[in-house]
């Protein structure tokens, strides 16, 4: 017990790990607000393919991002076994659609390995580092870039202003 407390106050972080297909990922637990089952989303017009739509989260409108599609993998066809991880990114709440949530893990920040240089820029954008754990490899996801980037938003705003004009 003492040991855990020691590590918590030290350089360790707690992460929630989840699965997309055969791959395992994790995010900082402090960014996670809640985990809930899949509910049908209302699709948004002119949205990127990885935005599944919006759902009602106790009165708030929550956009759902298909994390698989966001990272360039196959688009998920969600069913009730899929899971939405509700996260807080900056001042916005975003739901991440994943296959399943696995575990809560505590790791020393020193053990996080750098993401190796890969050809795929998309992966590099989202994967902040790698963790080796019991023979598994878990990718640490950076949430900052999950929603469409600023340029995309500006482009969207321009479209909107053209429409409004």
């Amino acid at each position: 017990m003492e040991d855990i407390i020691q590590r918590k106050s030290g350089d360790s972080i707690e992460l929630i790990s989840f699965r997309i297909g055969e791959q395992e990922f994790c995010v900082d637990i402090m960014a996670v607000r809640e985990i809930r089952g899949w509910t049908p989303a209302t699709s948004l017009p002119q949205a990127p393919s990885f935005v599944k739509g919006v759902i009602n989260l106790r009165g708030a409108v929550l956009p759902i991002v298909d994390l698989a599609a966001r990272m360039g993998m196959a688009v998920t066809e969600p069913n009730e076994r899929h899971v939405i991880i509700v996260t807080r990114i900056c001042d916005q709440q975003v739901g991440l659609l994943v296959d399943a949530v696995c575990d809560i893990i505590t790791v020393d920040t020193g053990t996080i390995q750098q993401t190796p240089d890969l050809a795929c820029d998309v992966v590099k954008t989202f994967v902040k580092g790698l963790l080796a754990m019991e023979g598994r490899m878990i990718s640490l996801i950076s949430l900052d870039n999950v929603l469409p980037t600023l340029e995309a938003e500006q482009a969207g705003a321009e479209t909107a202003s053209i429409l409004a004009a």
């Binding site: 049908p40 949205a47 106790r58 009165g59 929550l62 975003v94 429409l163 409004a164």
Partner: protein, 774 residues
Amino acid sequence: MDPLAAIKVTFFQECEEQLAELEGGLLAMEGGDHDPEIVNAVFRAVHSIKGGAGAFSLEELVRFSHVFETALDLIRSGDIPADQETLKLLLRSADVLADHVRAARDGGSVDEGRSSAMAEALEALASGMGGGGEADTGDGFSDFVFNPVAIDLSDTAAAPDTSIEDLLARVTGEVEAADADEGAEGDVTWHIRFYPQVGLYQKANESGLLLRELARLGRIDVRLDVSGLPNLQNMNPEDAYLGWSVELTGPAIEEAAVRDVFEWVDGDCYLDIVRADTAPAPTLAQTLAQTPATSIDAVGEVDVMALIRAAQAAEVPGAAMVPPSSGSAPAGAPARTEPAKAKEAALDAKAQAAAREASPQTIRVDLERVDRLIDLVGELVINQAMLTQRVAECGLQRASSVAMGLDDLEQLTREIQDSVMAIRAQPVKSVFQRFPRLVREIAAMTGKEVRLIMEGEGTEVDKTVIERLSDPLTHMIRNAIDHGLETPEEREAAGKPREGVVKLAALHRSGRIVIEISDDGRGINRPRVKQIAVDKGLISPETNLSDDEIDNLIFMAGFSTAATVSDISGRGVGMDVVRRSIQSLGGRINISSRPGQGSTFTLSLPLTLAVLDGMVVTVAGQTLVAPLTAIIESLQPKAADVRNLGPNAQVIAIRDTHVPLIDIGRSLGYRTVTPPPTEGVALLVEGEGGSRAALMVDAIQGQRQVVIKSLEANYRPVPGIAAATILGDGRVALILDIDAVMVPKPHEGLGAAPASTGGGYDLSAAPTSLAKVG
């Protein structure tokens, strides 16, 4: 937030209220209302600001409000007549005072020249009131307090007493100057012993003013008690050492009247008020004077209260020589009960004042709490709708007790929702009240004579709407005076009164708030407007436009009729910005103008931004909500009425007019192939500019009031979608942005401009379609 900062916030909130009361009162006086209560209220407002400002050491604010207060005081006493000229000056002073308050709050600076000019004008007003002794006193005191006399402290050992004596001589001399003649026999005489404590001065009160106030009640004989004054070396310049004993004589002076004078300083001074015929001559001052002066010298710092207590202790044995007067209050006048009484009297006076104003009780609530409540009630409404739907799905009969109970619940939730919304509703007065000042300033700048008439200030609308109304209204009023009204000379030449009228009116009309800004000026110069539009390439010279359409050209982007960019309007912000900000509130703006008779702008806005009456429709399997306000009618298109126009555009004939037929599903990108129009329902909608279109949907589900939820909060704006809502089944439905879907997307490249029908003029389409023609 530390407590002091919190108090400061409250102080500034109250300042805003006081300023509003001040301006309201002055305007009422200008309008010919001479109720002394209004004058008192105006005086109180300035006095309260000064008091609070003193507590927070806001020097500039105290200085200006003091001068202002002095002038108002003379008006209150009737020494200065409250004529129109004076009131104009006072109104402008109120503006400067508001500037000072804002500068103190936001850390900005005040136009120093304007402020000092105004202060001088007020002082001139105060001193030029006809040479009464009182005015001298007042001015003398303001000099004394706010222009400190430099004392060379390095020289204290040499002659410390003379400089103090000099100072005191000024004070006593001036106070005594107010003491006009000797008391007549038979009058009531009050012995007042007044020993201010340091707190009194810290709150920017002033003994001199209080004494002057006493002088108003009757003849006064003021004696300054300097016995508390320590050696200059030991003197704390911020402490209070002086006391006064006053003999007030006059016919039928009530004790309450005397106490009223000290209402504001209650608790910050030692005060003893004794009737001469009930209390004998030995005054506290005298007792004080006899108390060992050596102790004062020794201690150096003087605690007046301690001295007074000592003096009282000395007095007690001598109480026996006070003849007990029959029936009246205990003559010994113990200091312990007196302040309590004074407090009671003060409370009484306050209660009376409150009763006079008969204002409803209010509380201050953090807006976030109200918003949270509104959110929760919104969810309650959704939940209730979900429950109703579930019960209906269970196949329960409408008359069953469960269903009936749900009906009651629905009614209740609606009422709760309405009441909660009413909390946020505020009278438009809070934004209207800024305009008298604005009008005065612009009138002064342009050299025009303007009268502002305001109607329906009590009309209530949601706070968010009010907040966002301020800028567009300001701009439109600026325009009305700068462009709309003529100069007095031009008006006379045109046979109109020199003074132009700008009218601002608010009223409720069919669930919306309508605000009209009208002027009786020259109206819109249509040939010139059209010429400018042609010059700027906004329209082609051949374009044939109706008068209405020309008037509406001023809303186009990049349009400004002023030949020169003036300081008032034409700051690079045109009517197009006004129109856009009104539209972003879900409102519309219209103009009607008659040459030589003036123009009227009409704004129509929703009462709240939180709920919306909508038509729930189905498009390509999606549930959407169309704002009911935009829908004129719904119809089932007949094959014969639908005609193709160009490669992929369609129009529909509705009673002799042809309007574009737009498939929502394709417009939003839900589908690429448009189903035959005969299989769906067409909604005839009208956009902001009055243009019409028929929107094709697959089916209509019904009409419902929906709670508006922001998409931007967690996502970003979506083209064609105004907002989202949550329906009875708990799912999110999107609310259509009618104007956005009506405008053809650029890549679709519709060959024809949207048909301009029904006398309307499609402003939203104008910049693109007309530019193409030009």
